[in-house]
Symmetry: C2
Subunit: 252 residues, 2 copies
Amino acid sequence: VRGIVHLVGAGPGDPELLTLKALRLIQEADIVYYDRLVSDAIIALIRRDADRVPVGKSKGDHSVPQETIHEWLIASAREGKRVVRLKGGDPFIFGRGGEELEAVRAAGVDAQVVPGISSALGCAAAAGLPLTHRDHAQSLTFVTGHAKEGGVPDLDWTALARPAQTVVVFMGVGTSAAIAENIIRAGRAPSTPVAVIENGTRANEIRVYGTLSELPHLIQRAGIKGPALLVIGEVAGLPEEAIAHAFKEQVA
Amino acid sequence: VRGIVHLVGAGPGDPELLTLKALRLIQEADIVYYDRLVSDAIIALIRRDADRVPVGKSKGDHSVPQETIHEWLIASAREGKRVVRLKGGDPFIFGRGGEELEAVRAAGVDAQVVPGISSALGCAAAAGLPLTHRDHAQSLTFVTGHAKEGGVPDLDWTALARPAQTVVVFMGVGTSAAIAENIIRAGRAPSTPVAVIENGTRANEIRVYGTLSELPHLIQRAGIKGPALLVIGEVAGLPEEAIAHAFKEQVA
């Protein structure tokens, strides 16, 4: 029996946002290695007699080193098992799926990738926040707010400051003050709308709206500490909630 | 009875890449308005006694004007129907979902958005092409190669020419020569790897690999004319197919 590794995107958290293929694969798998970002409701859909191995990976908490994950995936496949590596969002957008695919294939093990709803797309849909818009955003950029070595990443702030585009920052809660400051200094208006979405598509979802200059304050006031998305751009002012928020601020 | 409109992403084409929610909604809908980019295999999953209304929208062929689509969605919901507006990929990434959501809600009709696997994510997974990578691409930008008024869009070529990022161009087949030229002139290496993916995740998928300087030639040689994705950046050189292609070119 030949084993195989499927790197599978679990989407943002709502189990209904799994793809049909992801559901089939977690029900066929003999063993599932999953990130902490994968929701309990999704873990509950794994075949009951499959082995379930959490491999950590909340921000700053790499309980299992990346190289060890590679070794486990390879070893399980070599035992002839159907292995699923289940990752929050999409495996190829800030998910280190590229590194895992390379490692597994370099060991001569079959591997396939199944896309997932990126948390950016899931959160945007839930909020009614279009990431591109013919009148407001002709381009869309995803960046990580968390550098490889920790701290603020070395981003092209001038490019991120251009108008008529949407910037989505993954893992940017801890560095939000520096991100807002750098983008404003590079020329984007302090009044540019922003949205912060924590636990998007889940029961405990929090969404807050405001402007770029008040970004770190918004996050602090809402008590957001975990993985959240920052959406920066005119489109963040379009949801009804954003309009209601801006109106309330104006009246107050 | 109160009607409702769901704007639903159908993903890149493979019916297994529908979300569970999208499948449920197209099986509950009374009427489905769908784009030409939605695959036949997905159309076949719509509830058999639902009305199915194609509204065109292949590139440059807007068989039904956008305003008419809005009117139809609103009218159907006002008849108390469960309306699905089914769109290729994700509704909020170059899908005009923002405009449709605004129009429907402005008419006082309930509307919700269901995300889909963006064609960029679907094609990347199928090709084993990581869109971000810790060593090669710390940011990911989606742009459209097709201007509102037709022709080459007014993009920030300097930003797109930065190294260590991935640029995905939607609807860029017709303008690929100008896109490659502008990005190279702004400073990106002519040898930057590129991939062109047509009909990603479908049986008739075509993938070709090469360098930025040969982008229009690659497209022409492969006979790609329809909607396709251009992926520009070091990550486009990572798939095994890309490595095999580069080796063949070197030997020839």
